[in-house]
Symmetry: C2
Subunit: 370 residues, 2 copies
């Protein structure tokens, strides 16, 4: 049965450590979820994810619906069997991709009509369909369809979008109740743009409907970092502490630590894997670009203190050589390191919360990496 | 100390099973060597190679000399440390790449002057330099610099090239004796185009000089398959049975079995990895292209009887989806399978030779896959 339990709470702030119970096992929060857009976390095997400490991954409903399609994944009883991943999966609703990837999108009461980025074919993504797709993926945590808006947007547009999101969320919940495994979770997504008043209205409306958890959507869409934090902090405060709080599409390791301090429990971002493929790797003292000439014959690992497979066996010089040679192994070794780095930070954050030392950890961490 | 010992010999033919002793351990022959052009077998980790049964890999001197350069690899005491591979490595001499990749190549008595395929800079690869590079790579088996020629070539051109190759081989041996680890091996490469008389002259001249092993070069350059076999068979017969015999740049699994029957012990080819990246995977009943629509929802592995990581955990449907989506994991999973397939064939060939059933195996194998 889907369940969220807080096991430790910072005495001086809002950071908390918890346990999410899902049909495919437990997740210790705060947690970072690597993004497996098309049924793989790019370049990595499931075993490599587990070795890096990954507990839950995110799958993209929009992408998987288009390729390979639900009929194929259904044959494998869902995404877990299809991709050989037996831990929890959270799937998004497709709302953000319809907003960011699809063409000629028309938002109607019924749903979002769009042309795909692949072949231009026209599809209608309704709240019911968004849930049905996620049911066929056998997702552990499903997300309600939301209408995402651009930054900046007018108060009027933000209000319309949040109200439609609320109505869609109600329809999602009904479909979920009718069709989904009752042990799965269904999260509502708070919209409202950069307007606190609208964020509060959205959060209240979703909590009235009642969901397994709540996400802060519509952030990381081009707004300044200070504004992201301001809206996230405000929105997280409006949400019940009894449920998991998920800040979508964010961010750097420093962002994660700051958002945990505001009470966030869950995160996803393409940053560790995308940056890895661009040669940017994380260290405890900030990021480095592995293609830099200074690493030409550097026999050190990316990060002296890192225990990942890449750092145990490979040098910066080798990684630089692979990257400059466009060898496929480069993307993989960099990704293993970056994912490990993100998971290590969430492990340390959780440990600090449980030890009652989160405030000190945060100061140390943010000073060290800035 | 480099050593080759025949442990089993077919009673009715020329196939033999042996053990190569190298500074980085033993290799059981007949053996296939995956190609690690730039210090990685494309997309695969060293552990994945070991799990697939790989005993020795090939590194390309031409590529590694240009990128990352010998100074970098020397800092890691050679290629093994640089790429985290502690089993044997054979390096080619660069001769074939100068012929096939470089531009404006001028063959002189001193060596091969060429412009690189990377930046057009001019380099002179002498026999001495080819060995010195391989010494800095700390190769277990080094190859003499040879002059490769196009197919078809005139008798005159083939004769000139083989004679130059002989003179270069003598200089290679001298440099190897002066500079290399005496436990490493040095192989001479038989040239002579498609002319048996010239092949025999080349082989005799190299055996007079004396090498640890002998390779058949200048094949797989566009000649018909029958001619390749005819020249390989003839050339292998001219070589002493006491030394390992290596047919370079060949071929399909069926080619390997046929060449083992002619007495060949070692092979290398980019086919398993290159084909994997093009979606072509090997099965015991021939090759399939994983992108084929018939595999859309096929829950079977590539090959029912295969024990590789890919076949144990992933379906044709999933592999097809990854491949069509251009996911990096596709190239890797296909490569794991194809390398396993090649290694499995060499394992079975060796077993059959040792069991005295090679003839029957060969008939069974070639009938099954044709």
């Amino acid at each position: 049965m889907f369940n969220f339990k807080i096991v430790s709470q910072s005495k001086t702030g809002k950071a908390r450590a918890g346990i999410l119970q899902t049909p495919h096992g437990e997740v210790q929060t705060p947690i970072f979820m690597p993004v497996g857009t098309l049924g793989s976390v790019k370049s990595l095997s499931p075993e490599e994810l587990v070795n890096a400490g990954v507990q839950i991954i995110l799958g993209n409903t929009y992408h998987l619906y288009l390729r390979p399609g639900c009929d194929v994944i259904k044959r494998f009883s869902g995404l877990h069997g299809f991709m050989h991943w037996d831990k929890p999966i959270l799937t998004d609703s497709g709302g953000f991709q319809v907003f960011s990837l699809a063409k000629l999108t028309q938002i109607k009461e019924e749903g979002a009509e769009f042309q795909t980025h692949l072949d231009g074919s026209t599809h209608l993504l309704t709240p019911e369909k968004a849930i049905d797709i996620q049911v066929s993926l056998n997702s552990d945590i499903m997300m309600c369809l939301d209408q995402c808006i651009a930054y900046p947007s007018s108060y009027h547009d933000a209000k319309d979008a949040l109200e439609l999101t609320t109505r869609w969320s109600k329809r999602c919940k009904q479909t979920w109740e009718e069709n989904a495994d009752k042990n799965s979770g269904l999260f509502g997504i708070v919209q409202g743009g950069m307007f606190k008043e609208l964020r509060e209205i959205s959060a209240e409306a979703l909590m009235d409907l009642g969901f397994s958890g709540y996400a802060v959507g519509g952030l990381s869409v081009g707004e300044p970092k200070e504004l992201l934090f301001e809206i996230a902090d405000f929105t997280l405060d409006t949400l019940t502490d009894a449920a998991p709080k998920y800040v979508m599409g964010v961010g750097t390791p420093e962002d994660l630590v700051s958002l945990v301090e505001m009470g966030a429990d869950m995160f996803d971002c393409v940053m560790p894997t995308r940056n890895a493929r661009n040669g940017q790797v994380f260290t405890r003292n900030g990021t480095i670009n592995i293609s830099n000439a200074q690493f030409k014959d550097d026999s050190n690992p990316i990060d002296q203190d890192c225990g990942c497979y890449t750092c145990r066996y490979f040098s910066r010089a080798y990684l630089r050589h692979l990257y400059l040679s466009k060898e496929l192994l480069a993307y993989r070794l960099n990704s293993i390191h970056n994912i490990w780095h993100y998971m290590e930070i969430t492990r340390r954050v959780r440990e600090a919360i449980c030890d009652g030392t989160f405030e000190a950890f945060k100061k140390y961490f943010l000073n060290k990496t800035v």
